[in-house]
Amino acid sequence: MTTVTTAVGGVASFLLFFRAVCSLFIGATSFAMSRVELLNPEGLRVDGRRANELRKLSCKLSPLQHADGSAYIEQGNTKVLAVVYGPRETRHRAQVMHDRAYINVEYLVAPFSAGERKKRSKNDKRLLELALAVKQTFDSVVMTTLHPRSQIDIYLQVLQDDGGALQASINAATLALVDAGVPMVDYVCACTGGCVDSQALLDLNHIEESSAETPDLTVAILPRSGKVTLLQMTSRVHSDQFEQMLNLAMEGCRQVHAVLDSSVRDSMQQLADQMTHR
């Protein structure tokens, strides 16, 4: 039970955050408020995973039939919906590019997505940065020169954020683009990594991501060539383990690729079965 006294109002919301975070795990876990043990002596993380284990990843293509392409991803408890329109007529004259398609990304976070409810303005700097990161990633992967003077819209909606929202968004965007039939050089597969006590961790959840004990690395690769298209790291901890973290995260990307590709094939088979009635 969490206790609140009337005198210290500010503590209330912090503890409410805790209450909400508790409810994200199966089985209540109690921990001291000052320090969370990210990796226990048996090698288990706060959610019971091993250091190099990816969270359960499930995908669904075309959840929204009205869009050109769409995909829904659940990576652990992080849930993202991606919707793609295009290529289509460019809406703003200023954005028309004579030799290629213009990629437009909007990154939205539902007010109820985090442990603590928070409504973010559309001009929130962090959201605009994330949208830009996604746009730049796909600018180099989508074969935009095939569709000059048109526009491709990628709308990302984070419905629940339990860590790794950016990577889940990139994975969802990839699937939605594939679903829309937009030509791409390869899948873009993203994953996060961290490091605790010299041990690299794969696919950070929210508690790990917000902890000061580990850096937070997001990387996205093109599986066929292994090329890195996105790399972001924030760190409050001095770490010599960068290469180890990066390699583990890249390995995670390949695991993600296997799941994404498999769900695309399943979806294609289903669609083909439905369409060939004759």
């Binding site: 048109s150 083909a272 369409m275 009635h277």
Partner: protein, 276 residues
């Protein structure tokens, strides 16, 4: 039915150097690699990958239904559900007073008298601009402004290529199956286009539509939506069978999932027998 080969992005389709790469692929070294998730198609030595879902691309000669979105200098822009709006040049339309009339200055200034924003039109794709935009024409009398009915939108990949895209159902209702997924369902005009006065061609007035005709139009629309929801490829045959199969129910019942299932299953079965 032949086996379909599915490929996904970055999958190698073939490394055989005698093949040429087509749409949906790219070349990397000696490999032809897929750029989309779709079905491999091969015509002679040309290899392409066709995605199962994609926006309408179109070919020259396609019959399309579109909506005027913009009135510009000597041309209109038309939403044809494609990657770019189509273009209908002033020089590509029939103007009242005869097909061979010279275009005069006043025509350009009065472009809105012919087509204005929002108007529905049926046209043919005559060419493509370099950037991929479709150039349309309405030179034949069967093309032009649409009236007396309503629009149904279906995924373009479901509209099958046929000899004709203009059909009649139940004697009273006309259906224009635009290859771009826009379908116009209307009362069959009492007068043929050749019999119309020149200003009637561009008039924005509907004929009187009887209740019976209205019901039939609604029924056809619902059949089209039903086929679309079940992802059934659409042509006149399957639509006519769906219409017949629906007759023992009220028009609005066709909005219910169970009825959609029953009617479309019957339509597909009957269409299959005809094709054998």
């Amino acid at each position: 039915m032949s086996e379909q080969t599915f490929v996904t992005p970055a999958e190698v389709v073939t490394s055989d150097p005698s093949f040429m790469r087509g749409h949906g692929t790219y070349q990397e070294g000696k490999d032809i690699v897929s750029a989309v998730a779709g079905v491999v198609e091969q015509v002679n030595k040309l290899v392409t990958v066709r995605p199962l879902r994609t926006r309408y691309g179109g070919e020259i000669g396609d019959v399309v239904v579109g909506r005027i979105t913009e009135v510009a200098q000597k041309r209109w822009k038309v939403d044809v559900n494609a990657r770019q709006d189509g273009v209908l040049l002033l020089s590509s339309v029939n103007l009242p007073g005869g097909v061979q009339r010279r275009k005069s200055e006043s025509d350009e200034l009065q472009m809105r008298k012919f087509f204005t924003e929002g108007d529905m039109v049926v046209a043919e794709a005559q060419a493509f601009f370099q950037d991929g935009a479709m150039s349309l024409h309405t030179r034949s009398l069967k093309y032009g402004k649409l009236r007396n009915g309503t629009l149904v939108v279906v995924p373009p990949s479901l509209v099958l290529r046929s000899r004709s895209h203009f059909h009649t159902i139940a004697n009273s209702v006309e259906v224009i199956l635009g290859l771009n997924g826009y379908i116009w369902v209307c009362k069959r005009a009492t007068k043929a286009p050749e019999e119309m006065d020149p200003d009637e061609l561009y008039a924005n007035v509907n004929e009187d539509i009887s209740n019976q005709e209205r019901e039939t139009i609604a029924r056809v629309c619902n059949c089209l939506q039903a086929l679309s929801k079940r992802l059934i490829p659409i042509d006149y045959t399957v639509l006519a069978f769906a219409y017949e199969a629906s007759l023992d129910r009220e028009t609005k019942e066709l909005l219910e999932p169970e009825v959609i299932e029953a009617v479309t299953t019957e339509a597909v079965a009957r269409a299959a027998m005809v094709n054998e």
